[in-house]
Symmetry: C3
Subunit: 139 residues, 3 copies
């Protein structure tokens, strides 16, 4: 049983831009020497998120529209009163989607579906370099 | 410390049907010989989801209505332009709920509440046989 | 490789009250003697949730408002017909946010951002003492 951790950064545009990190994730599993276990993907920061999606431009746009229903850009946020900030919607969206994802692997391969990619999202209102932590644990 | 992985399938109706897999999950923990650790439940496919719920027909209906608020069936989805598909709402709902759940166990028992079941959801617009991966890791 | 489990309770007000458990979580990691691995935080009960947030009063209020968009207090819930209960919205909100969070740690430190706290939420319509399970696994 072993644990290996890797950190890297992705450059993302504001308000729902996402990066497909599936290839990095599988490469990290492959290079770990482990056969079975879990990969944890964690996005650092309270205006980021991690989930799975069929990564194609249409769905990316559909997610932006869903985020607008969940936490619209046009309404007031109490968070703005605290810091004179403008990213209340990004925080709310982050808490709803979550910043952590665990994917099992067996036979050295993540059990993702063919059209199921791992994405890291920047939900802040400015472009951000987002830190991503990959960690494998297994045997 | 050991890792054990099991895959199985559940037949589900379209648009939010769910299966309670708590019994399979606990049985897999019990049969693993492990005393403490984590169970990961992962649903394969970008129009599926895993979460916890009090599994009873009323709440299942309440979830369908909530999904309609999050990602209505009646609106346009950019995803449909890509594949001439009709399941954009299912993808959006899947990304919001998530396809992965980790439940700790100790004394060979999952730490779920009495009214807290593990469910796998089919969010696609057609009936699907959904693949579920269970993996235990612990000692 | 080792597994350690701890259970504790937090007293919470109804309908979206939340407790920042980041300090308990880091203390548990620090006292475990482990250097790298995962911390799992699980909230027991189908009207609770776990996520990350910048923990400050403004965002807490913003989350309550988002929950009202997702699952309003004012609408009917089929769940109420089953138990003559009034907490349908709390169940729906719990299933959407999720009851489980996995955070990696390395060099004995959780990889949370500076403004990213771990919170346990009570989404029930009455005050509740919520059970929280922390479990570390690693080396």
């Amino acid at each position: 049983m072993a644990v290996k951790t890797k950190k890297f950064w992705v450059d993302l545009h504001p308000d729902g831009d996402m990066a497909d990190v599936s290839a990095e994730a599988q490469a990290f599993v492959s290079s770990s020497g482990l056969s079975a276990g879990i990969l944890t993907v964690f996005s650092v920061g309270s205006t980021s998120a991690v989930s799975t999606i069929e990564y194609e431009p249409g769905l990316k746009e559909d997610m932006l529209r869903a985020f607008e229903r969940l936490a619209p850009a046009s309404i007031d946020y109490e968070h703005h009163n605290k810091w004179h900030d403008d990213n209340g919607r990004g925080h709310v969206r982050s808490t709803l989607v979550g910043c952590s994802l665990v994917v099992p692997f067996s036979d050295k391969k993540l059990v993702l579906g063919q059209w199921q990619q791992i994405v890291v999202m920047n939900l802040d209102t400015s472009s951000r370099k987002r830190e991503v932590v990959l960690q494998v644990m297994g045997e």
